[in-house]
């Protein structure tokens, strides 16, 4: 089971604080490597709050912890705190001047049994 979502990113003050203390900390990992999804979308995926999902597109992929959104229903739209994890899915040409408007990151989300992607793995990928 997999579903297509539009991912919107945002800044979070608690994650910022955790990052200032140390980006390799458990707290920073927990706040960054998560995807917040609509309750019904998660149910349809068969994933519970705290379960792991693979988010992937033609740019890259990351394993994240799925969290249930407390917002009003927003089917097909997921949220991620801006971080090296969200940047793994981001197209670097999207802000080209005169380009069409940005409409969120398109990604496919599916249940995963793999471990959450660690920051060290992301750094390693950058060097390859």
């Amino acid at each position: 089971m997999a579903m297509e979502v539009k991912v919107a990113t945002f800044r979070d003050i608690f994650q910022y604080e955790a990052g200032r203390k140390g980006m390799h900390s458990e707290e920073y990992l927990q706040l960054s490597a998560q995807i917040i999804m609509d309750k019904e979308d998660l149910t349809n995926l068969g994933v519970k709050d705290g379960g792991r999902v693979l988010a992937e597109n033609e740019i890259g992929s990351v394993v994240l912890v799925a969290r249930t959104s407390a917002d009003k229903a927003h089917p097909g739209v997921a949220f991620m705190i801006e971080s090296p994890w969200s940047h793994q899915l981001e197209d670097d040409e999207r802000c080209k001047q005169g380009a069409l408007g940005f409409r969120g990151i398109s990604a496919k989300v599916s249940p995963s049994q793999d471990n959450v992607t660690e920051l060290s793995e992301i750094v390693q990928r950058l060097k390859e």
Binding site: I13, E17, R20, D92, C95, V123
Partner: protein, 413 residues
């Protein structure tokens, strides 16, 4: 008894000037800091950088000499960062860029750069945050969430304070409107005047605003709620829009629509717009670069028969992929840029000038430790609304300020 001195906080682009740091530094005793400011202050005690070459400890002199060598030998160096540096460091950095024929860019290239360009060019009416506190009765946070990015925005300027013309403040006289794709912490303050839209639907929302201002039935969103928004806008005496990254990215290529909206609003009443800058001195960098080159971001300096030419770059991605050396100035490009750009930069020799360890400093060929601007080093900066602010250090340090490091790199060339 502990003595306190008022100083500025460089934790965000509001640069709050009412911070009380104790003479004897200890985290719990700093007063008036928001959560973000407190985190910034805690950087003093975090994992600090030290001079390194190829992952090994080195003397500062050797690290500076090696950095100079890398940058001098590069044919297409990129200097990225700037937005968390003092105006003085930015000026020296641009001198360096001119000298070595570098491309310069900052995080605003992905966020508020285009909008900042419109404000600095006078294409959009703007005002100061002090004007907002004194006069504004309607504040629209569109794709921005100041509770997270500029945490004292609402309490110092836009919603809660009693300004000279707004003595009844948020209880009676101020309206806070949020347009966002999610229920942000700011949106939770004003659920009745929060407008949820989908990713990329800002254009449709903007057109619906124009419709209701013209008395037409909007084709987008909850019609009743949009008509209510029209009523609020028409009754507004002094309104301010604070566009954030969400809105600005969505409107890329269609920014003229925002100018149309501002023009229409100002036919009805007074409306201004103020950028919600990311780094504490993002606006300072955009302004300085504009003064020096005519562009606010993404500029390449090139030498031609002894003359320094500059041209605007289309994208940071293009500059990053052409780069054969990187100087990261008080920033962490490997952590904050899209993977394609970060991957390109990770493959070239990197020099990191930073106060604290980061993903970029960990991967850099050369690390040069710097003082934290506003805490350990002084200077000036431009607040998000264009006000110049003096920065006084709160403590002495052996670490060099960024402009001193950049000057020494140039001397070493």
């Amino acid at each position: 008894m502990t003595d306190y001195n008022y100083r500025s906080c460089t934790g965000c682009a509001l640069i709050c000037e009412d911070i009380l740091y104790p003479d004897k530094l200890a985290v719990p005793q700093a007063r008036n800091l928001c959560r973000k400011g407190q985190a910034h202050y805690q950087s003093l005690f975090a994992d600090r950088t030290k001079p390194m070459i190829e992952g090994r400890d080195a003397s500062l002199d050797k690290a500076i000499a090696r950095a100079a060598e890398i940058l001098k030998d590069a044919r297409s160096p990129l200097i990225y960062g700037w937005s968390n540096s003092s105006s003085e460091a930015q000026a020296v950095g641009i001198d360096l860029a001119e000298r070595i024929g570098a491309t310069v860019d900052d995080p605003s290239t992905y966020c508020e750069g285009l909008f900042m360009e419109m404000v600095l060019a006078g294409k959009v009416p703007s005002c100061t945050l002090d004007d907002v506190r004194n006069f504004a009765d309607t504040s629209i946070f569109w794709g921005s969430d100041p509770s997270s990015s500029q945490p004292r925005h609402l309490s110092r300027f836009s919603y809660f304070p009693r300004g000279s013309k707004r003595q009844k403040s948020y209880e009676e006289e101020r309206t806070c409107i949020v347009v966002d794709v999610r229920e942000s912490p700011t949106a939770r303050l004003c659920p009745d005047t929060t407008y949820r839209i989908g990713p990329g639907e800002d254009v449709q929302f903007l057109e619906a605003m124009l419709n209701v201002l013209e008395g037409k039935i909007p084709k987008f969103g909850d019609k009743k709620k949009m008509i209510e928004l029209g009523s609020i806008l028409k009754k507004t005496e002094y309104g301010v829009i604070f566009p954030g990254k969400g809105m600005l990215q969505s409107l890329q290529g269609k920014m003229e629509l925002f100018m149309d909206l501002m023009a229409r609003l100002n036919e009805v009443t007074t409306f201004k717009a103020i950028p919600v800058a990311g780094g504490f001195n993002t606006r300072g960098f955009n302004q300085l670069l504009l003064d020096r080159t005519g562009f606010v971001k993404s500029v390449s300096f090139q030498h031609d028969n002894g003359e320094v030419l500059h041209r605007s770059e289309d994208t940071l991605a293009g500059a990053a992929k052409r780069a054969d050396a990187l100087l990261a100035l008080g920033s962490d490009p490997l952590a904050e840029l899209p993977v394609g750009v970060a991957r390109a930069l990770a493959k070239v020799p990197m020099v990191a000038i930073d106060s604290c360890r980061s993903i970029t400093s960990d991967a850099a060929l050369v690390v040069i430790p710097s003082a934290i601007t506003g805490l350990e080093a002084g200077g000036t900066a431009i607040r998000t609304d264009g006000m110049k602010v003096s920065l006084e250090p709160i403590m002495k340090t052996d670490r060099l300020a960024e402009e001193q490091i950049l000057t020494r790199i140039m001397e070493a060339m």
